[in-house]
């Protein structure tokens, strides 16, 4: 039976509710090193992803938070889900070295060109494959694509409640309590688990993997699955699933650099003269 996107993939009952142990799934993305200037592939019009991929720093906060929540609960484990057009695992190994127990990597050439909704469909299926998490953690947005809608899309596909833009997370019984960023400050939000929570950068200090952790990560299970393994149709992901076409790529009008001077102790006077010229002082 085909499933319409309106049906939750799993209801609350299906997840079970044993909160003595916290099982947390973290969605992670492996991206090209942001320190290297990005480029578009002229033939596919997507971001070039050749070379080594690394764990998106935005996701390291979710991994760290998941590890802390599992520690606080006194049991359970952290699992990872990720997708990539190729079978890249180096970013996953970083998160495993931090302390995650296992990973599911959806690796399939048909994923090339996937938009946020297709990505969410794939990740939701991968999460479902892992069984019964209490929490799904994500970053608020990836560093390379930054659409910022995937967490809500995953939650809707899984039929789960969600809290986005969390800057503080704690678990009390069957409830997750979150400080959620707002335009004006922050809100305190309570949400029954299981739930999807997206965490902002800087909420926790991600640990550096220890040497022991790095060695252990090499033997942790990474299950590689294809789009077909997840029961998804290849036409619902990648370019066909994205249902959008890039029609133009042009250089933006460049801003010209102005005068740059070395401060000789009088630099502040240059600034004052500049502000006077603009009649703002």
């Amino acid at each position: 039976m085909s499933r319409s996107p309106h049906d939750p993939i799993c209801g609350r009952g299906a997840w079970g509710a044993d909160y003595d142990a916290m099982n947390v799934v973290v969605c992670v993305k492996q991206i090209p090193d942001p320190a290297v200037p990005g480029a578009l592939d002229p033939s596919t019009k997507t971001l070039k992803r050749e070379g080594k991929l690394i764990l998106d720093e935005s996701d390291s906060y979710g991994v760290e938070m998941a590890l802390q929540l599992v520690d606080a609960a006194g049991g359970g484990e952290v699992s990872l889900v990720s997708m990539a057009p190729n079978n890249e695992v180096s970013g996953l190994r970083t998160a495993l070295a931090m302390g995650a127990a296992k990973a599911v990597l959806v690796s399939d050439p048909s994923l090339q060109g996937s938009d946020s909704l297709s990505t969410a469909k794939v990740l939701a299926k991968a999460i479902e494959r892992l069984g019964t998490p209490d929490l799904v953690l994500t970053a608020t947005e990836s560093t390379d694509g930054y659409t910022g809608t995937v967490p809500e899309q995953i939650a809707e596909l899984l039929g789960l409640p969600s809290v986005t833009f969390a800057k503080h997370v704690e678990v009390a019984g069957e409830t997750v309590k979150v400080q959620r960023q707002t335009e004006a400050g922050y809100d305190e939000v309570e949400c029954p688990m299981p739930a999807v929570v997206s965490v902002t950068a800087g909420v926790v200090e991600p640990r550096y993997p220890s040497f022991k952790g790095i060695m252990a990560a090499k033997n942790k299970p990474v299950e590689e699955v294809t789009v077909a393994d997840l029961g998804l149709d290849a036409s619902s992901v990648g370019w066909p699933g994205a249902r959008q076409d890039i029609t133009d790529i042009v250089a933006a009008e460049a801003r010209q650099a102005g005068e740059v001077i070395e401060d000789d102790g009088e630099g502040h006077l240059k600034i004052i003269a500049f502000l006077e010229g603009l009649k703002v002082i």
Binding site: L117, P151, T164, E183, I246, I249, F274
Partner: protein, 322 residues
């Protein structure tokens, strides 16, 4: 060519539509024969006049959210209304609330979303959105081929708000369905971070500080200078992540977009993430000790120097002027 119906997801603050909402309505008038607003909140009647003046003939109002985070319930209500109103395009702002609603709605209607857009056009019946990538040096235009409604979210200040003189928007109540556990997240308390002086995204002058300030205790230099210039203090993501100042100070891709008359960046190197949020400023002044810092490539005036020396002297000189 124009679209038949365009929806704008409206938001309010302090009893008025946000400027971003009015910007989107203004652009929507260019694109659609009929422009309608969708609004989740109790005071739809209070903002219907301003929404109407900017082009919304109707305001679909969803109330009684009972402190729920709006994403799930509002998306469900919108999905039902979409069946009868059949909008061709739904425009959202890149805000916390709108992103949640849009994400949920995209699953409900199984349509792709285009986020971070800075422009939109209609080619025949095809909606095309433009996004700036690589820190704004490349513009990518994408045509939506998923059928109506196209879902797109726009960065603040992409358009200039202008009243069109329309009559008050007619408020049409839309029932919010019970979405069960999916909508179970509840707000139990709200905290407003007080700031004095002009708002960051409305200020004529913005003074921002970054990692180059060295430590949190030096941020007062930024606040003092901003106050003297009757401007607003801002910050790079690095020092927000480090906990020196609240998130509401952040200028950049994930923070506020500012376009002041003068933007002064002190101790900010100019990461892509930051430049996206400020490169639309009319005049940019940068102070940084590294003469290779990318911020100098977009500055009108660059001072290669130590912020700990330049800022106190600048503050003193401005104080002396009285």
């Amino acid at each position: 060519m124009t679209l038949s119906t365009v929806w704008v997801y409206a938001e309010s603050a302090e009893g008025k539509p946000t400027s971003l909402t009015l910007e989107l309505l203004t652009k929507a008038r260019e694109l659609g024969g009929t422009v309608e607003a969708v609004y989740a909140g109790e005071d739809a009647a209070g903002i219907a006049a301003a929404l109407g003046e900017h082009g919304a003939s109707k305001v679909y109002a969803m109330r009684d959210l009972n402190d729920a985070l709006p994403g799930a319930a509002v998306a469900a209500a919108m999905a039902t209304q979409i069946e009868s109103s059949a909008p061709d395009l739904i425009m959202f702002g890149m805000t916390y609330e709108a992103r949640d609603v849009m994400g949920r709605l995209s699953v409900k209607v199984d349509k792709p979303v285009l986020t971070n857009s800075i422009d939109v056009s209609v080619d025949g019946s095809t909606v095309k959105c433009t996004t700036a990538i690589f820190g704004g040096n490349t513009l990518v235009t994408t045509a939506v081929s998923g059928g109506a409604p196209a879902l797109a979210a726009f960065r603040p200040k992409s358009f200039v708000a202008e009243a069109g003189g329309g009559a008050d928007g007619e408020v049409v109540e839309v029932a919010v369905p019970d979405v069960g556990a999916t909508g179970a997240a509840r707000v139990t308390a709200r905290h407003v971070e007080e700031s004095t002086g002009p708002k960051l995204d409305e200020a004529n002058i913005v003074v921002s500080g970054g990692r180059g300030l060295g430590e949190a205790g030096n941020y007062h230099l930024i606040e003092d200078l901003a106050k003297l210039l009757k401007g607003a203090p801002g910050a790079s993501r690095a020092i927000v992540d480090a906990g020196w100042v609240p998130y509401s100070y952040q200028v950049g891709q994930t923070g506020k977009v500012v376009k002041p008359t003068v933007y002064l960046a002190a101790g900010i190197s100019g990461a892509t993430q930051h430049m996206v949020g400020m490169k639309g400023s009319k005049n940019i002044i940068a102070i940084n000790k590294d003469k290779e810092a990318p911020i100098f490539s977009i500055s009108d005036l660059g001072i290669v120097g130590d912020v700990h020396k330049v800022l106190p002297k600048l503050i003193e000189a401005l104080q002396a002027r009285g």
